[in-house]
């Protein structure tokens, strides 16, 4: 009789532990979502269903302003970082292996490894200096900073796709009279497009979620949704924060589902 040599489900209590971990991960979010529809002020007692807090949040100009900032920054940062990540991925996969390739990978993925707070402090110093000398205080700083730490999130799916791609397709294009640029335009890019969109989505979500770096380098009036909420929490816990969080969660879920659909292997 054929028997698998080892299955993790044979371990006693495996399922129990797995369920508990999932509960610990997702229960708080469920609570958050449920209480965003609570009627009363209290964050701890259920007083009936209502959309009041969504209305309150939506009527708040600060929330509106923060939402606009968040979307502008996330959109710009996603586009910028995805473009750079695409170039980086092409540069690291479509050429002969070179000295220091591993080092380049590490450099590109640096934001994943360096503690964010360190990057934040460093950026604070640099942006402060630039602000002082140029006088520019727009969203540009946040966009560039976000783009920088979003690069690895966009880079990884794009590189994975490029590495998984059948190189004979590019050879075949060259064989059929396509110049290197035409090969890229007509073969590589169309096949890469899903990964590029997926990378952009991950970058967008990552930017949307950022608190630490934003908090350090934003100028007055440049709150994003996360930093706005953080500010609110410092004063008093209001359920409109639940509503905003739930909206963010919903947006993230939509984008991540799209990401999943795009990176999923066809057939």
């Amino acid at each position: 009789m054929a028997r698998r040599s080892f299955s993790v489900t044979d371990l006693p209590g495996f399922s129990t532990v797995a369920m508990m971990v999932f509960a610990a991960l997702y229960a708080p979010m469920v609570v958050l979502v449920v209480y965003s529809f609570n009627q009363g002020q209290s964050p701890a007692t259920w007083e009936g269903f209502s959309l009041d807090w969504y209305r309150v949040a939506w009527a708040n100009d600060e929330v509106k302003n923060a939402t606009v900032n968040s979307l502008i920054i996330a959109t710009c940062a996603a586009i910028l970082s995805t473009a750079l990540a695409t170039l980086a991925a092409l540069g690291t996969t479509r050429r002969k292996g070179f000295k220091g390739q591993t080092f380049i990978y590490a450099m590109i993925n640096q934001p994943l490894m360096v503690p964010e707070i360190v990057t934040a402090v460093a950026l604070l110093l640099v942006t402060a200096a630039i602000k002082k000398s140029t006088g520019y205080t727009g969203l540009g700083y946040l966009i560039v900073a976000h783009a920088a730490f979003c690069i690895p999130f966009a880079y990884l799916p794009i590189r994975a796709r490029l590495e998984g791609m059948d190189l004979t397709l590019e050879t075949a294009a060259a064989d059929l009279y396509a110049s290197p640029w035409q090969t890229f335009r007509r073969v590589t890019l169309p096949l890469l497009a899903p990964a590029i969109f997926a990378g952009a989505m991950l970058a967008f979500v990552t930017s949307l979620d950022d608190v630490v770096i934003t908090e350090f380098i934003k100028s007055p009036g440049q709150d994003t949704l996360p930093t706005y909420m953080l500010g609110q929490l410092r004063r008093a816990m209001k359920p409109d924060v639940n509503a905003i969080s739930t909206a963010l969660l919903a947006l993230t879920l939509v984008l991540l589902s799209l990401f999943y659909l795009l990176t999923r292997k066809k057939d």
């Binding site: 004979t168 397709l169 050879t171 075949a172 060259a174 064989d175 059929l176 009279y177 035409q182 057939d267």
Partner: protein, 364 residues
């Protein structure tokens, strides 16, 4: 280096490889994939590169296509040196072993790709694609994605795509190896038909000797980065230049011997007429095809004494294994009814003769 027997066989030269060498890696780990290979392929010829795995067939093909540049030597097309040209500037197309069809394009778009890249007008592309679809009998599939096709259909799309821009040379790297036997036979006929109809020079890679023998105008037998012999199927089968060719193409019996006044004195005794002797001194090898070996009654004049060790029935043929006086094993391929009549049996004493002109002296 082995001389190209009988020139290109057909008129003008299409592709010429001049002293091509290709080395991969360096120092200790160097791989000499091709070592000083020179060959001329005639216009409109069906030319086959045949050899065991790793002998450098693909490497030579990639060099003609421009995917790889030679370590030394030149590739000429219609007399012009194309060695420095990138693949997209060579009027040469490839049918890849894996087909390499573009998965994001339809069948028609795949076939039209080369024409479009050449900047041909849309109307011409459309017209030519339609004709190619008809040529490979895939008209109903024009709008399909290539992933929705069977292996044989994908194969035909790959062919149509490579033929559409009317290349001067079509390179095919084991294009049939992914197909099952029946489809393979069909495609062999189909390929030969396409080649005759289009008149394009085909350079075909295979390690299947039967495929090579049945399809090719000429065959180049390769081994370990060297060309062993170039010639028509008949030349190569009937006059193999060395032991490698004799055993790689069909089967052969090898008999140790020495030359004696133009005849071969076999180690097993007996003097036989041989062809291909070039005045060698010292030990030589004589090759005889199994179907050229005759079994006669023991003691007949000029017959080599032999003992039957085994009889293997193959339907139309029976293989009769015999041992000569010195223990050399020889296989004779006999038509089955003959063996039945002759009353051959294991352990029987018989005589052995070779058909006239069958015994060949091999080079090294």
């Amino acid at each position: 280096m082995i001389k190209n027997q009988g020139g290109t066989g057909v008129g003008k030269t299409s592709v010429e490889a001049r002293q091509i060498a290709k080395h991969f890696g360096q120092g200790e780990a160097i791989v000499k994939a091709l070592d000083n290979v020179s060959v001329e392929i005639g216009q409109g010829e069906f030319f086959t590169l045949l050899g065991p795995s790793g002998c450098g067939k693909t490497t030579l093909l990639r060099m003609i296509a421009g995917f790889e540049s030679p370590t030394s030597g030149q590739i000429l097309l219609d007399g012009a040196d194309i060695t420095p040209l990138p693949p997209n500037r060579r009027p040469v197309n490839t049918v890849f072993q894996s087909y390499a069809l573009f998965p994001h394009l339809t069948v028609a778009q795949n076939i039209g790709f080369g024409l479009e890249m050449q900047g041909r007008p849309a109307a011409e592309v459309k017209d030519r694609v339609a004709r190619m679809l008809a040529l490979v009998k895939l008209e109903p599939m024009a709008g399909r994605k290539t992933s929705q096709l069977s292996g044989g259909q994908q194969q035909r799309v790959a062919l149509a795509r490579a033929l559409a821009p009317t290349p001067k040379v079509l390179l095919l790297d084991e294009p049939l190896s992914a197909l099952d036997l029946k489809l393979r036979k069909e495609m062999q006929i189909e390929l030969k038909r396409l080649q005759t109809e289009t008149g394009i020079t085909f350079v075909f890679v295979t390690h299947d000797q039967e495929e090579a023998l049945t399809m090719s105008d000429r065959i180049a037998v390769m081994s370990a980065g060297h060309l062993q012999q170039v010639g028509t199927a008949r030349e190569i089968y009937n006059n193999p230049v060395n032991r490698f060719v004799a055993s790689f193409i069909g089967e052969s019996n090898f008999l140790p011997a020495t030359l004696e006044a133009g005849k071969a004195r076999l180690k097993a005794g007996g003097l036989v007429e041989v062809s291909g002797a070039k005045g060698q001194t010292g030990p030589i090898t004589v090759a005889v095809r199994p179907e050229q070996v005759r079994i006669v009654a023991a003691g007949e004049p000029d017959a080599l004494p032999a003992t039957i060790t085994n009889l293997v029935y193959f339907g139309t043929d029976t293989h009769c294994h015999v041992d000569l006086a010195d223990g050399t094993e020889v296989v004779a391929r006999l038509q089955s009814p003959a063996t039945g009549d002759a009353g051959l049996e294991r352990g029987g004493k018989v005589g052995l003769r070779f058909a006239p002109g069958a015994a060949q002296v091999l080079g090294d």
